[in-house]
């Protein structure tokens, strides 16, 4: 975990819970799992406060151990709420918001609001459940990941050693195989609801209606939690479609979106390599009634789009046995990342650098002269670009010594790119930037404390004393600044999402 992540966590907690929670939690992150007395000593707060604060963020801080991932994810709450609202309407948005606020939610506890009836809320809830955006809480959900891992390891050790203690090599081996098992398990297990075979659309519609009427939040006493992975999946899918829109056209984007929507009920994790496949003859029906926008006559227009995407360098469509098509999710996410890297390079270092980066990306390791020749620029220019990108973590150097003494004058230096490495560097830059944006936002607020206080005065609120024109202007300005900073924070979080959560 980097310094930037820690700082960012602290800030998010401060924003969401205030400075005491922040203090306790950052101490927890820095120290790892701690007992209460140890925490009290480290934070120099009273026992009572510490205990209260440590349990306050119900989801964020559990059993006196802070989960960085969960804290960082809080940054995405607005996006989740927005996604739910735009998918299923405002009631769904409200439900998600409440769930996020409380960590868990029992639908029977949501009362009707002024503009939302029980019926609307029930429908929203039903849709969220259907899409597995909300899932029932299970007893094991309260066990943190670390606890699970520790227990698993303890059991495995007990089984393997037959009572005798293990040597350290045996232990390492055991841990490795456990890690292997876990990753396999994650990839093979299906979460979320399975789509049923639909035989009669109308019948299904009717059934749904009935269910909608039957299901009401008032009767549902179960507790639910947010399934963040489903949100990530949904957001990833729409980004892939957006990518296709940039590279091909609207029609291509709709087709890919339709393919992904079709497979969505069966997607469980962003780690899956391929989307559920679509039969060749089914493809055309995905965009029923729409024009395919192909110049000239072709027998199967949807296949043209598949061919186009398969012939492109990014390879985001995979053909299975000639009869099925699937979106290659891993390649698609990689293409999104490469696209982002290219944009950043173009903005930071200019066109020639982007050309050089792509050249290295497509042709692997090259020395400086080869780079200059293929990019068709002077070697001097090439060198400058390479070093600038090297400093910022976009290209890397590999040395190939000609002699055993590794003397620099008898060594080839080859340049290469690594999307993974650059992504992890960019991720830490994104955390860092997010942190700074937050600091700046805080400062902008601090600069105008007296103004903000004034707006909260009782006489101003009741309308007895007005704000001067200057004040109103300043307030408007503050609003703009806040908006701009907040908006940038969200965009940076989207960057984090692509770098961290989509793969």
């Amino acid at each position: 975990m980097s310094q930037h992540e820690l700082q960012l966590c602290g800030q998010i907690l401060e924003e969401h819970f205030g400075c005491l929670v922040e203090k306790v939690a950052t101490t927890l992150i820095a120290r790892g799992r701690s007992t209460l007395p140890a925490l009290v000593q480290a934070t120099k707060l009273s026992v009572k406060i510490t205990r209260e604060k440590a349990t306050e963020g119900t989801r964020a801080v559990v059993y006196y151990q802070a989960s960085i991932r969960e804290i960082l994810l809080r940054e995405r709450f607005p996006l989740f709420i927005h996604t739910a609202a735009s998918l299923f309407g405002a009631p769904a948005g409200l439900i998600v918001q409440k769930t996020l606020e409380n960590g868990t939610l029992s639908p029977s506890k949501i009362g009707p609001t002024d503009d939302m009836s029980i019926g609307q809320l029930s429908e929203g809830m039903a849709q969220l459940l259907d899409g597995a955006f909300l899932v029932p809480l299970q007893a094991t959900d309260h066990v943190t990941l670390n606890d699970k891992l520790i227990r698993e390891e303890r059991e495995a050790v007990a089984n393997a050693g037959m009572g005798a203690p293990l040597t350290s090599t045996e232990l390492t081996k055991l841990r490795k195989s456990l890690a292997q098992q876990r990753s396999e398990f994650n990839q093979s297990v299906d979460v979320g609801s399975k789509r049923k075979v639909v035989l009669d659309f109308e019948d299904e519609e009717n059934k749904k209606k009935q269910r909608g009427e039957q299901y009401t939040i008032e009767k549902d006493e179960k507790f639910y939690r947010i399934n963040t992975e489903r949100f990530n999946l949904h957001l990833r899918n729409s980004q892939i479609a957006h990518y296709v829109k940039n590279y091909v056209n609207e029609t291509g984007a709709s087709l890919i979106q339709a393919m992904l929507n079709y497979g969505f009920p069966r997607m469980a994790s962003c780690k899956e390599k391929l989307s559920p496949s679509v039969r060749r003859d089914m493809l055309g029906t995905l965009l029923r009634g729409q024009d395919f926008n192909i110049h000239g006559r072709v027998s199967n227009p949807a296949i043209e789009y598949m061919d186009l995407l398969m012939s492109a360098h990014s390879q985001i469509i995979t053909n299975i046995d000639g009869s099925q098509y699937a979106v290659n999710l891993r390649n698609a996410v990689r293409a999104l990342q490469v696209d982002m890297i290219e944009s950043i390079i173009q903005e930071k270092f200019g066109l020639v650098s982007r050309r050089i980066w792509r050249l290295l990306h497509m042709r692997s390791k090259q020395d400086e002269k080869q780079v200059g020749k293929q990019a068709m620029v002077n070697n001097k220019v090439a060198r400058e670009c390479l070093y600038a990108m090297f400093k910022a973590g976009f290209v890397f150097l590999q040395d190939v010594p000609k002699t055993v003494d590794h003397s620099a004058s008898r060594t080839y230096f080859l340049w290469y790119t690594s999307v993974e490495r650059t992504c992890s560097i960019l991720l830490s830059c994104a955390y860092n930037t997010s942190h700074r944006l937050k600091l700046r936002r805080k400062k902008e607020m601090a600069d105008r404390t007296h103004l903000i206080e004034k707006t909260k005065r009782t006489d101003v609120l009741s309308g007895e004393a007005g704000l001067s024109e200057h004040d109103i202007e300043k307030l408007e300005e503050l609003k703009q600044v806040q908006k701009q900073l907040q908006f940038s924070e969200w965009r940076i979080d989207e960057m984090v999402m692509l770098l961290r959560d989509f793969q």
Partner: protein, 340 residues
């Protein structure tokens, strides 16, 4: 002006020598002129050499070999000699010979090597090694030959700091000048940019339908390198002659710029491993094209989330720290960005 007169023996030797256009060693001459003694041959060669009718060369297999010059060149040398001796006659001599000054023995040797290198040129160091002359002598000879405008120094694009020498009237080879993309040993980036733009526009017109929201089916004849080479040669957009490999480099550059995409001809291979082999194939001048090209619709003009905030472009990103000399709260870039 007639050629310098030769004695009977000299003429006989010269005729024999001319039987070997590539030169021969003295053993072969002995075999041919069976009545001659070794001293006769040596003396004859020396006097021919002083009259510029014969070159002494060094061969790796045969030792020193002798080669006859053609008559014209011998005359030129002779004129140079006389010219030096009697300057007032210079007016009547042809242009080549009007260059003042004579060539001494060392200069002549150096001139030989430079001439032999033809349009590739040769380095001082090579002349030194091959001639066995002292470095200073070679340098002097080169200097005086340059003064007489008999040779010229040319810089190679590959080794811009080293000079190579060739005869004044020779055009340097493409290897030295860098080929089509170089003007005065400098990479002509402007020319390349212009040409790529033209090429890009043409590929765009050939690969994107008039309504850009439409796509061409895969059966559409997307242009290949050969097509584009033909088009460039015919269109007259440049007077510089471009080879197919030149056009291929332009295309590669456009691919790296993500302005165009390379697509396999005849459907999708979809196999990454083949790519490299195909690339090499394509470099071969006579081979069939395996790639076609289509214009990419993605343009990178919309910025990125990170570089749209000041930190994404900040030159002091790594030093910036709250409480330090550069900090987010005191940041001037932010101030400007938020504009108030």
């Amino acid at each position: 002006m007639g050629p310098p007169t030769l004695s009977q023996t000299e003429q006989t030797l010269l005729v024999t020598l001319r039987k070997f256009p590539k030169g021969t060693n003295h053993q072969a001459l002995l075999d041919h002129l069976q009545t001659w003694t070794e001293t006769d041959i040596v003396e004859g060669l020396n006097s021919l050499s002083s009259k510029h009718f014969v070159d002494f060369l060094e061969s790796s297999t045969q030792g020193v070999i002798f080669r006859a010059r053609d008559a014209e060149e011998a005359t030129k040398w002779d004129l140079l000699d006389r010219n030096a001796a009697c300057p007032h006659r210079a007016l009547t001599l042809n242009r080549e010979s009007r260059r003042t000054g004579s060539m001494n023995e060392q200069e002549r040797i150096v001139y030989q090597f430079i001439k032999a290198s033809s349009n590739k040129g040769t380095w001082v160091k090579d002349i030194k090694v091959k001639s066995g002359l002292h470095g200073q002598v070679v340098a002097q000879a080169i200097k005086s030959l340059e003064k007489k405008s008999l040779i010229k120094a040319v810089k190679s694009v590959k080794t811009p700091t080293k000079k190579v020498y060739m005869l004044a009237e020779i055009e340097p080879s493409a290897e030295l000048t860098g080929g089509a993309w170089y003007t005065d040993q400098e990479l002509d980036v402007e020319f390349i940019d212009q040409l790529s733009n033209q090429l890009f526009k043409y590929i765009g017109a050939k690969s994107i339908p008039p309504d850009p929201q439409f796509i061409y089916p895969s059966s559409h004849p997307f242009p290949t390198c050969a097509d584009l080479h033909r088009w460039i040669s015919k269109s007259g957009i440049t007077t510089v002659e471009l080879s197919r490999a030149d056009v291929q480099s332009l295309l590669d550059r456009l691919v790296f710029d993500s302005k165009i995409e390379q697509i396999p001809i005849g459907g999708t291979t979809g196999n990454d491993d083949d790519d490299e082999d195909l690339d090499e194939w394509n470099m071969d001048e006579d081979s069939e094209d395996v790639w076609a090209y289509r214009a990419s619709r993605r343009n990178f003009t919309d910025g990125s989330a990170w570089t749209d905030v000041p930190c994404g472009r900040c030159p002091v990103f790594s030093f910036c720290k709250e409480g330090g000399p550069v900090s987010p709260s005191g940041c001037v870039y932010f101030k400007k960005w938020l504009e108030y």
